[in-house]
Amino acid sequence: MALLCAVMVWPSQIPSQTQQPSPGTPPATPSASASQGGVAGLATTSFGGQAQQAGLNIVVLDPAHGGTDPGARGTGGIRESEIVLDFAMQVRRALEQQGFQVVQTRHGNENPSFDDRSATANAQRGAVFVALHISSTGLPGTARVYVNSDLPPVADANGMIPWDRAQAPFLGLSKTFGDLVQRFLTQRFKGSPETAQTASVRQLRTTAAPAIAVEISSVTVEDRADLDRMAPGVADAIARGAAAFKPSYVVPTTAGALP
């Protein structure tokens, strides 16, 4: 399989999970994080650049599908690929208000491959990955967060992590992040699960960062406005979840450290 012999991920980019904020890490509260002044204090200014300040600074937003792949389609002509792009704009604004830099895997109606999307996230340092989906089923008006299922042990003899298992060292962090976002979503959207679910989501497997997929129910609503009304709540929950997760996410400067 091509993925098995493809690009490897350096473990030096793998963060450790701590329960206490590291020195210099901003507090978790949304208001405090927002007071950091957005991305002004960060060195990361372009794709692939590295942050000088260890910790979560970047959120990679992945509006799923696009291009020839419309994703889920509703009877009223609702297309998942279009709605998630609109959702992404609102999530982006909410995250930027919390002081995060946002990188998107797509901005228009194109369809990057799974690996291209993961590559966007894996090129960042101190980033989390959030994929946005709209489901075909499920109770309308609810939202679910997914993290990847258990993956086999990582790192080969040279201490490198195979690309197709890049998510493995981050599963614990992903669960912590997912639970936080799910909690804020459930407060807003009654009927949603209490904690993040696990599933073998293809997109998350090759992502070397804490990674979640947020899936909103569903394209079966008769009026698209029903989904549009959920966007601010979803954006707020993701932004608050990322802010609350920030103290737990410290990128070690020591090469080879694993979570």
Binding site: A72, S135, S136, T137, G138, D150, D164, R202, Q203, R205
Partner: protein
């Protein structure tokens, strides 16, 4: 136009609008009901033509747990117990339970797999790895989404777990090919955990060629399919299993 005629005209228009407002919801319900009935009869016909269930009436009838969607808890599975004559051979037995699962529950809203999906072949390796080859409809007709794809795979793995102890893990193929995802979300490049307990050694695996699925089913076997009235849901909702990726 005299005021009297104007009054009559407006009154008539109001009456028509009110009548339409009352009648249209009734008409809509009738159309929906008719469409549902037609869909069910079409599905029944398709099932009879394309879903031969390899059941031998001579086999011992055993309680079989099948996992379909719950009608009370959103996006979860529930075990439904039916009595089926099941083979002792793990491959035949797997085919029997999976074909029954594909045939779907009485309430078509609770099915987890597309009605036009077929099990083309089923193999069992000596190490307990099963390979289930489904027709393309499994990937193309399933509602796109993480939740629906996860529910579909979990209904397959949980049904195998409950009825075929030999199966330890499952690899899903679509029309004989390994595919990256089921319908754009769920990863099919690895295997899914079915049973974590050691497999019983008394039953030997017996790989079967794909052609056996269709040719080995006599028409009389259809009588062995349990009548819808015999389905009895368990009380506890199904729990989603965790898939694993291959090493």
């Amino acid at each position: 136009m005299t005021p009297r005629w104007r009054f009559l005209l407006i009154g008539g228009l109001i009456f028509i609008v009110l009548a339409a407002a009352i009648y249209f919801p009734i008409l809509r319900r009738r159309v929906k009901r008719a469409a549902k009935l037609q869909q069910q009869s079409e599905e029944q016909a398709r099932r009879e033509l394309t879903q031969p269930i390899t059941i031998n009436p001579g086999d011992l009838r055993v309680k079989t747990k099948l996992f379909w969607a719950s009608d009370t808890i959103d996006s979860t599975l529930v075990a439904v117990t039916v009595e089926l004559p099941l083979s002792d051979d793990p491959v035949l037995r797997s085919k029997q339970v999976l074909n029954t699962l594909l045939a779907g529950p009485v309430d078509t809203e609770l099915r987890t797999l597309p009605p036009d999906a077929l099990l083309l072949a089923f193999y069992l390796l000596p190490d307990g790895t099963a390979i289930a080859d489904f027709s393309e409809a499994l990937a193309t007709s399933i509602p796109s989404g993480i939740v629906s794809e996860q529910l579909a795979v979990n209904s397959i793995t949980r049904t195998l777990e409950a009825n075929v102890p030999r199966v330890q893990r499952l690899k899903i193929l679509i029309h004989g090919q390994e595919v990256e995802t089921l319908a754009g979300h769920l990863d099919l490049t690895g295997t899914f955990v079915v049973n974590t307990r050691p497999a019983p050694s008394s039953v030997k695996p017996a790989p079967t060629p794909p052609a056996a699925d269709k040719s080995a089913t006599p028409a009389t076997d259809k009588a062995a399919v349990p009548a819808p009235a015999t389905l009895t849901p368990d009380k506890a909702p199904g729990k989603l299993t965790q898939p694993e990726l291959k090493r």
